[in-house]
């Protein structure tokens, strides 16, 4: 049975990854999950300098999901290179670093700093709805997305995954723009912008007012977008958005994802990723699927 998938020349032992920002750099969850079992660890967004992030409350619960407005707090790329990469290199898993910035230059700086490290791939977060400075604009206009993608591709030594925002009218158009600009792969979806109001205090539940919605509630939107994007481009897709268990992971693969990432559901079930790795093998056995790649886009 083959569970290996390949994205832009990088081979993953299985398609199960962690979604950026929900798994730190793997340290915390390594108490629950053997990181060697995972296809890849995708890190929290890293910027050129340390970011403070947003004031609290930063998270709020919603029906079947959650809102977050962390605001990309991160220790900056220097600390990341010194501390987090060596930690992750102890494990037999791939390292995908999520990159954030406020300007194109910010992104390019991080990409260049990571060029000589043992990072396997870069995931470019142009879709975070929680940062005032508006990096999300890169991810909401096809022209901007094209520009930033091509500039990053010029500097990047590792393959580049562009992470798309679901807060757009036409995801296929965005996917095509990223591909045309040279992106090696896409990941989607990032969170959908949402809001919660406390009706007793008549205040916003999040200090940032709006936050990103994630969790099982958004899964149907994510599956639809993965499907639409996968029909619009040839490059591989990493699917995410509400994945909780094996069935969800398979659903995303059938929709067109070559790999899948678990986000908010790590918080609900810290063992989710490891269970999924096993679950996928069981599903393949049950339906006599020799090669997991046969599942990709196999919905009719």
């Amino acid at each position: 049975m083959n569970t290996k998938v390949t994205i832009a020349g990088v081979e993953f032992k299985n398609p199960v990854m962690t979604a950026s920002g929900t798994f730190g750099s793997g340290m915390e969850y390594s108490q629950f999950v053997d990181l060697n079992r995972l296809g890849a660890v995708v890190t929290k967004g890293v910027a050129n300098v340390p970011w403070e992030g947003n004031p609290t409350p930063r998270v709020a619960e919603t029906y079947g999901g959650m809102l977050n407005a962390i605001g990309l707090q991160n220790p900056g790329v220097d600390v990341f290179i010194q501390r987090d990469i060596p930690f992750l290199k102890q494990y037999d898993t791939k390292i995908i670093v999520n990159v954030c910035g406020k300007t194109v230059e910010d992104y390019l700086e991080v990409v260049e700093r990571l060029g000589d490290t043992e990072v396997d791939m870069l995931e470019i977060n142009v879709s975070c709805p929680n940062v005032k400075e508006g990096a999300i604009a890169f991810g909401q206009k096809a022209g901007c997305l094209y520009d930033i993608t091509s500039q990053i591709k010029k500097k990047a030594k590792q393959p580049v995954i562009m992470k798309l925002s679901p807060n757009v009218t036409d995801i296929a158009e965005m996917a095509a723009a990223a591909e045309a600009a040279g992106a090696d792969a896409l990941s989607l979806i990032n969170t959908i912008t949402g809001m919660k109001i406390d009706i007793h205090k008549r205040t916003f539940a999040l200090a940032n007012k709006t936050g990103g919605l994630s969790g099982p509630a958004i899964k149907p939107v994510a599956v639809r977008m993965v499907y639409q994007a996968s029909r619009a481009v040839k490059i591989p897709i990493i699917g995410m958005g509400g994945i909780a268990d094996t069935e969800d992971a398979i659903e995303f693969m059938l929709a067109g994802a070559t790999a899948v990432a678990v986000g908010a559901m790590n918080f609900v079930n810290p063992y989710a990723t490891a269970e999924m790795v096993e679950g996928i093998e069981k599903y393949m056995t049950k339906y006599q699927i020799e090669d997991i790649n046969a599942l990709v886009g196999a919905v009719e």
Binding site: G21, T22, F23, G24, M27, E28, Y29, Q31, F32, K44, P50, W51, E52, G53, T56, P57, R58, V59, A60, E61, Y63, G64, G65, M66, N68, I70, Q73, P75, G76, V79, G215, P216, A264, M265, N266, F267, V268, N269, P270, Y271
Partner: protein, 260 residues
């Protein structure tokens, strides 16, 4: 640290909307005063774990006690659990109170409202360690429906403050402290933010140490999501910015180290 399906041993209502639950789990064996567990609701429409402080841990019997106030859907559900029922918990989380700070000192434990529960295990552990010169507890309540006072009195002397003045000093724990002329070398506290702010200020003025347990909305409970931060005076070692994670770097902090 692990997530386990544990058994509810008993449940009782202690006061208006305040419940007392004993849980059977080997997490008890390693639980420290000031640590907390996360409870995952069975209701699948609400996903996030609910952080609840460890009120008591009987390390021989492998049983844990939590005392909580019903405020929303999650704690409402908890209050319906019956003996023998399943409860999904993650523990033990966070760092406890620094027991090594008390040798030869007068330690004052201050609990306000639903901040009282962690003070019970703390009282027990401080008493057992026997290193503090003196241990005094001050518990602040809304009214005369006191809870956990008798439990604490088994280990330390307990003073009471009530908002309505029906028992003990009228006012909050700080009012009781000054009314009774109590002087602390070390304060260990848990309670509402205004109380914690007052303690921080008092400690600074009086030059005593204060360790306070903070609360914030949490998503992961294990340090991964960065949801639960508090502002710190110095750059935090993990985050490299002035934010510490309450779930893993706290919930107990030296009051002078955090901006509250």
């Amino acid at each position: 640290m692990k997530k386990v399906k544990a058994k509810v041993i008993s449940q009782a209502e202690l006061s208006d909307d305040i419940y007392d639950m004993w849980i059977e789990s080997d997490l008890a064996a390693t639980a420290k005063a000031g640590q907390f567990i996360c409870v995952y609701p069975h209701n699948e429409s609400i996903l996030l774990p609910r952080p609840i402080s460890i009120c008591e841990a009987d390390r021989e019997k492998n049983i844990l006690r939590i005392v909580y106030r019903v405020v929303g859907k999650g704690t409402k559900e908890l209050s319906y659990y019956r003996d023998g029922g399943d409860i999904n918990i993650l523990g033990n989380l966070g760092n406890g109170f620094p027991l090594e700070e008390v040798a030869g000192k007068h330690v004052v434990l201050m609990g306000g409202g639903i901040g009282i529960p962690p003070m019970l295990q703390l009282a027990k552990d401080l008493k057992r360690a026997g290193e503090a010169e003196e241990i005094t507890a001050i518990a602040g309540y809304r009214n005369d429906r006191l809870f956990l006072k008798e439990d604490m009195q088994k280990y330390v002397s307990v003073h009471v403050a009530t908002e309505d003045g029906s028992v003990g000093t009228k006012g909050n724990v700080m009012d009781a402290m000054s009314a009774l002329g109590i002087r602390a070398d070390v304060i260990m506290a848990c309670g509402p933010m205004p109380m914690l702010r007052a303690i921080k200020q008092y400690a600074k003025k009086e030059g005593c140490k204060a360790y306070i347990s903070l609360e914030e909305r949490m998503a992961c409970g294990v340090g991964a999501c960065l949801g639960c931060v508090c502002k710190t005076k110095e750059k935090d070692e993990h985050s490299h910015v002035n934010n510490a994670r309450i779930c893993t770097d706290g919930p107990v902090f030296n009051a002078q180290d955090v901006e509250i």
